[in-house]
Amino acid sequence: MRASAFPLRRGLVHAVLLAYAALCLGPVLLVVVNSFKSRAAIFGAPLSLPGAATFDLGGYRTVLGQGAFLGYFANSLAVTVGSIAAVLLFGAMAAFALSEYRFRLNGALGLFIALGIMVPIRLGTVAILDEMVAAHLVGTLLALGLIYTAQGLPVAVFILSEFMAGVSKDLKDAGRIDGLSEYAIFFRLVLPLVRPALATVAVFTMIPIWNDLWFPLIVAPGDATRTVTLGAQSFIGQFVTNWGAVLAALTLAMVPVLALYLAFSRQLIRGITAGAVK
């Protein structure tokens, strides 16, 4: 690499990257560290590691002891996994159609879908809430799933159609000559070849959905449909806040998303580099 010829420049690059990593990881680390401390220690010495005197799993006991919290986890998982599945399936289908078929307004439709990347879905909150009320979906996980599917589709279509266009045209034509249906060509030939791209899209889609506080609060705030991020707020009271429990809940909430990320990351790296080299 050329950079190795300039040790000073290389050191600077690493310093900047390390600083950025510290900036990102600092708050997360603070949450994790303090979740293992007693309430007094959280406020007394927020930056110190838990010691023999300050170590306290009270927060975790509260969170796990409260049966509803596991339900919140289940809700979050159901919404996230369901939305990812829908985004991948419909996004890939739309991307295939846009990249494979020539039809009137093909370009305009692609642009229209790409517009969704630029306009935040939250701008439409009032209209979305109206729709959900009219469809009697308020207070259901399905409402959240639909919203997140809509939110994830533009990026998914955008990324996947680039990759789909890169799949050999001859291969698809060979499938047509051998009598495969368009669905078989899509599911059996094209999808396996764009698997790295699917993983990339899954990760980009997953994190905002898991972390979202806005739509659960508006569309499905009821106890039965509460997600983890919303559920953690229940420990924040008007007069008393159980900080140990809040931090423990947030720490636990990181675990599934971290696990999913690790599961996808091998494919993810391949996906990102494949896109860059092409």
Binding site: G175, I177, L189
Partner: protein, 339 residues
């Protein structure tokens, strides 16, 4: 070989194709006899690949009729046309092994498993693929992949084989070997084949009949040597034959009563003096042949092919004389005068 008295295996009538305002094919008429090996040849952008894709049903013609084995095929989907196609990029299914690749079309048609196995075995025997049947395409070399692609076409026992530049991705040595194999295969199967290439050597060596295309129109159809001996126009004359034909305009052409005359490098006699005197500006020694590039005043660079090894050094004065009956005359539009 031309199937006189029977309906042609493939018949194109006034096939046109436009993308928006651009006309790719300007009305192609063609009949391919049963068992013929027909090669579409032409420079890139001449419409030969589009024509093949229309025959395959992968693209639809804008107008015109297409018949395979006498049956009208307009709008019929590719799998129902009784064709098989071999692609330039092999286009093997990466998730299937060699046997699976060859058998997929048959299992889609609902052919019984035992019959599929028998046909795959026959094709793999013909192409020496027996040892590779269990491998995935990623574990094969380029030449092996192309043999599998050909095998995938053979097992379907189609009434028409289509080849889309199948040798372009192979290196030179492998290309000659695979070319021979395709020729042998054609003889063994006696099947009708349509083959697209931009390489005139492939066209000359493989074809029963060559179709020369330019700018979306057929320039000439005929047997390779007929096209070589009697090109219909200056384009065909220049496209077939290697090195390319020498064209001379101006005074020498006017003396022959033409706008331009053409002589192939192999039809020029080199001697101390001749009709055209010039200086050797470069010589290529191939061992079997020697190419002399001779600068002739008033004519430009003229190529002469001399059999064997030739001793004329660069800078030597030589005379070139066209052999009798080997001079092609062209009018101002480039058409051949007097056949």
């Amino acid at each position: 070989m031309t199937g006189v008295g029977r309906e042609p295996a493939l018949e194109l009538r006034a096939i046109r194709k436009s993308f928006g305002a651009t006309e790719i094919l300007k009305g192609v008429d063609l009949a391919v006899g049963r068992g013929d090996f027909t090669v579409f040849v032409g420079p890139s952008g001449c419409g030969k690949s589009t024509l093949l894709r229309i025959i395959a049903g992968l693209d639809a013609q804008t107008s015109g009729d297409l018949r395979i084995d006498g049956r009208l095929m307009n709008g019929v989907e590719p799998a129902k046309r009784g064709i098989a196609m071999v692609f330039q990029s092999y286009a093997l299914y990466p998730h299937l092994n060699v046997a699976g690749n060859m058998g997929l079309a048959l299992s889609q048609e609902g052919v019984a498993k035992a019959e599929i196995d028998a046909r795959v075995a026959r094709a793999s025997g013909l192409l020496q693929l027996d040892a590779l049947l269990g491998r995935r395409p990623a574990e094969l070399s380029g030449g092996q992949r192309q043999r599998v692609a050909i095998g995938r076409a053979i097992v379907r026992e189609p009434s028409l084989f289509l080849f889309d530049e199948p040798l372009s991705n192979l290196d030179a040595a492998l290309r000659v070997g695979t070319r021979l194999e395709i020729a042998k295969l054609h003889r063994a199967l006696g099947a009708t084949m349509v083959y697209v290439t931009h390489d005139q050597v492939e066209a000359m060596t493989l074809a029963d009949r060559i179709v020369v295309l330019r700018g979306g129109a057929v320039e000439q159809v005929g047997r390779p040597l007929d096209l070589y001996r009697r090109p219909a126009n200056r384009f065909v004359a220049g496209f077939l034959g290697s090195p390319t034909m020498n064209f001379v305009e101006g005074e020498a052409a006017a003396r022959a009563g033409a706008a331009a005359i053409g002589v192939r490098p192999e039809h020029l006699a080199v001697a101390e003096d001749g009709a055209w005197a010039g200086t050797v500006s470069h010589a290529e020694h191939l061992g079997s042949d020697t190419m002399l590039y001779v600068e002739v005043p008033g004519m430009g660079l003229v190529t002469a092919r001399v059999g064997g090894e030739d001793a004329h050094p660069v800078g030597a004065r030589v005379g070139l004389t066209p052999r009798d009956g080997r001079v092609h005359r062209f009018d101002a539009e480039g058409r051949t005068i007097g056949g």
